[in-house]
Symmetry: D2
Subunit: 350 residues, 4 copies
Amino acid sequence: MVISMSSEASPAEISQVVEFIRAHHARPHISRGAERTIIGVIGYRHEVQIEQLLTLPGVETVIPISRPYKLVSREFKRENTIIKVDGVQIGGAEPVMIAGPCSVENEEQILQAARMAKKKGAHLFRGGAFKPRTSPYSFQGLGEEGLRLLQLAKQETGLPIVTEILDSKDVPLGQEYADVLQIGARNMQNYSLLKEAGRSGKPVLLKRGMSADFKEFMMSAEYIMSEGNNEVILCERGIRSFVEFTRNTLDLNIIPAVKSASHLPIIVDPSHGTGRRDLIESMSLAALAAGADGLMVEMHPRPESSWSDANQTMNPQEFSDLMEKFNYFIYCKNNFEKYKNSQKIMKKAV
Amino acid sequence: MVISMSSEASPAEISQVVEFIRAHHARPHISRGAERTIIGVIGYRHEVQIEQLLTLPGVETVIPISRPYKLVSREFKRENTIIKVDGVQIGGAEPVMIAGPCSVENEEQILQAARMAKKKGAHLFRGGAFKPRTSPYSFQGLGEEGLRLLQLAKQETGLPIVTEILDSKDVPLGQEYADVLQIGARNMQNYSLLKEAGRSGKPVLLKRGMSADFKEFMMSAEYIMSEGNNEVILCERGIRSFVEFTRNTLDLNIIPAVKSASHLPIIVDPSHGTGRRDLIESMSLAALAAGADGLMVEMHPRPESSWSDANQTMNPQEFSDLMEKFNYFIYCKNNFEKYKNSQKIMKKAV
Amino acid sequence: MVISMSSEASPAEISQVVEFIRAHHARPHISRGAERTIIGVIGYRHEVQIEQLLTLPGVETVIPISRPYKLVSREFKRENTIIKVDGVQIGGAEPVMIAGPCSVENEEQILQAARMAKKKGAHLFRGGAFKPRTSPYSFQGLGEEGLRLLQLAKQETGLPIVTEILDSKDVPLGQEYADVLQIGARNMQNYSLLKEAGRSGKPVLLKRGMSADFKEFMMSAEYIMSEGNNEVILCERGIRSFVEFTRNTLDLNIIPAVKSASHLPIIVDPSHGTGRRDLIESMSLAALAAGADGLMVEMHPRPESSWSDANQTMNPQEFSDLMEKFNYFIYCKNNFEKYKNSQKIMKKAV
Amino acid sequence: MVISMSSEASPAEISQVVEFIRAHHARPHISRGAERTIIGVIGYRHEVQIEQLLTLPGVETVIPISRPYKLVSREFKRENTIIKVDGVQIGGAEPVMIAGPCSVENEEQILQAARMAKKKGAHLFRGGAFKPRTSPYSFQGLGEEGLRLLQLAKQETGLPIVTEILDSKDVPLGQEYADVLQIGARNMQNYSLLKEAGRSGKPVLLKRGMSADFKEFMMSAEYIMSEGNNEVILCERGIRSFVEFTRNTLDLNIIPAVKSASHLPIIVDPSHGTGRRDLIESMSLAALAAGADGLMVEMHPRPESSWSDANQTMNPQEFSDLMEKFNYFIYCKNNFEKYKNSQKIMKKAV
């Protein structure tokens, strides 16, 4: 249930509504906009009744929401959420590119990769310091040392840093070193981590779990938002299916589905999504055409010597080619209206 | 195993190779190109040996193929297969649009739909006369009467007809009335039907089965080709997964994967692939961006009164909007080189 | 909709109901039981109204069925369907064993296998004469010659024959040579074949498709029954999932689900279901414990020289061990009441 | 790589091997058995060579292990692992029953449930104090208060407690109150939690993730074992598939597969595995027949008033019926040899 207060509602009126909600064993979620205040009612059962709420002073409308997700939904917020990270807008008019190696390996590697990303026009830089590995015997990441190297890369290139956090107790480290905290597919339903990220004050990039259906994905974003953090970037990275020719099955269908049901931005990771270097470019372009707000790709100065994910990592030339098509996509998108008008003129002429 | 004959090989030499293959209990598949003759060896075990073949006069090279599919593979034929249906090229430089209602219902409906398809620029017209329905109690299609109505639509609009055949014994009807025989997802491994379609002399549009992996899809095309029919159009229409927000999970990843492994064209059916009218346009554009050779969409003069698949069928306005973006996609694709050059000039200027 | 006629209803009254149904563009499906006649109404829309039917003489009750399957459902027929094949009862008090090689290879192999099956206590004999193979270049079965060899096996052992039919045009051959027609997983939605099998007068063993959900499986059985054939044996043989340690994922959950929703017997094929010889025995016992009416296993005198499915085929010793446990399962099942009583006596004694 | 030391190896010789491993940048995992010491070599690359190891005094054999899991594998430890929890043996000759409600709700509910479990013969008691819920607005469990109520239940009934821990930082609470720490399906790849549980000194019940394949499941157990905790109980609880008639698809095939590849015990949770109360009994019996070392079922004094999972929770009567069949299964299992001998005598007599 969502309560929209009148634009003239006083602080006292807002407090009264909040107390009413608490008295009925529910939790208020207050969102103060420029114009008006919106109050989400969390955890209510039948005790909180719309009729009673409407009688309280300052209440304009009460929207009963049948979907299990509320704060995440377009019903709660009509306009797209745009997340600003340093100068970059995610969810705005133009898609963004997040690029970088799978893991932070050493200073030389990470600086080379960051320079390459910057030079070719990427907007954010990614790299893993904590690596979730299937095997306890695989390289687990450089940890805090890796985060320091990412900072170095930012200092040199100015690119904001996206990096993964694996455990709720590591969130403070992420707050210190990263601009965007990434929550990986394996942790999409690690609710302690979601809540802690929700309290971090940092934008959160939330990857869809390998077997997450739509509702579950939205609900995990809701966990973050219900802690007061509105800056959630969704990320499709492939689901698990019977299909064997790709490592995962990149499910682009979720892009327009999210756009319809939610105000949050959604980006696509075609590297993990396909696990095949030779498919990354095609699927990147497909993601943009489907309406994605950005891409996150793995790129490495020398993929063949990469410590992890070598099969799905672009080399400098491949990344450069992708950026050229990425930019052409934006160019075409921005010129569609012009094209339509020219077509109309031609038709008239004929 | 594939044998490439020298360009000067005589008919007698070709015959000798053919006899050699038969003598070793295998079956030759002869493909006479403009320049040279290629002979596929089907069903060989260890008896047919490369070394022996290379000693025969006229044999240039012998390519052992480890993949289970042969005729379908790029190793067998490097250049893309282009299939000509009346004037239309499928698999050529530009994608094609196949549109029409799910089922043929009556003369008025089918003629209205065909006129609309023609007017907006579709290249082929589709409509079902034999309908594979989950329930024996659902409308099963008008049968031959439906095929006659499709012919009428063709006479009026000139659009070639694509229609589904459900059983090997109905192939003759398809040969009489249709330009392209469609084999549906449920029949992808109906081997009798595949073989019969392979002998029909008509182009075959083969839909991927709901749980077909890559190899199985290729092998079903191989069944058709092994009967001497090289005109196979592959079609992705969604796979079955745990995902619940779409009727099926449209797996666009298969487009670049097919392009890499096979010379056959591949198109996409976003109507069945998503089951959601509101996702068709986005996923159509994504399919084109991923490299699809065409689209097949369900479109109806009045979807709300459609006898089947109403939820995934576009109305005239939606189809018109899609065609505008379809044409813009082709326009942009054709202007990429020009753009690249202009960028280079700009860079130099800077 | 199902109409239950009064036990005293005259033939004339039954005819009147039948005509009423036909007059309303629906199709009657008459099932004459020992006590009363039941009439299923197939393909009705809103024209056939319950109220009107209830006014007809001889009509006792009219049951509106909301489930899409009717004849298959327990609502239509409460007691279990028992199918008699020669002397064997399928769906009765005790489970049955169907065993035999994947393919009929030659006379010696098939007779050895049949003798072994008979000696160890199998109830029916299976063997493939028409093989649905993923590759057009794989062995496709001996065809009619294979059917003749199966007849020979029956003459020698008396075991009834189960064999697969791939195409509607081969049903007459199946009628001539087989006791039970098998429809394979790939053909579960080959509706022409289902209908033809429905008209064959032979019991039909219908395998679940690799990606068939519950309703689709029931609807395919409904296709057969709607042609007047009540003798359908369902068979679970593994579904397609992401799981890689088995060839398919044998879904035993469907056994109690079928028992609850339908009156038809259901058996399990653990050979195809797992694709692993080392799992067959465990999963066979699990299937019986879950309530399966029988098993169908692949067994071969020398699996290592089998022409197909060698990895999932039991050798004579393994089959003998399985039969011992199969028989012990029946023994235990038959002694459960006795055990319960002895426990009660012990409790009282204590 | 696994090193088996001679039974006469001295502590000094063992130390020398350990130092050798460390000097080659790998980590030793020492397991002192009654007879001999086994040393697992973790994280080795090519530096640690078998030949060199074999020259060290006290080394008997070196087993190179190609599978990615080592400590978990039967190659590492041939005999079944039996885990003792208070007096109960998990993985021993007879299966165990773990029963209890989904969530701890209040004192009355939890004591009633525990008494019922005890009376009917369950071996361990389960109940959730920390609940992983899809929605942030759903009941999240009573937390530490719930753990205290579970302790109360143990004091009254003597049944050891199994309860879920959601986050690495809650492991100390679990150590204080629980006998077995459960790691849920959503956390199967929460590596921080796995490691912390590995250091807890408590047996760990590890549920298979919804989309975990065999190797991933084994590797998560390996994470726990690589921290020195050998007491891991695996648990199958259903995977995610396209199937819609059950909440999850209970994959019993994994039972014999685990028995073949690993020495660890595996139990089955048919409540979550099917999500259907009417299927629990059948699938419980199937799990036992497939070789499961135990069951974990949800049971509640009044399922209809349960705060969570009401649809998959047994009532007292259903649980009592299940226990009767559970005990009969054990009775039959224990009498198989006797039956076989009686059959042999009968055969001779005939």
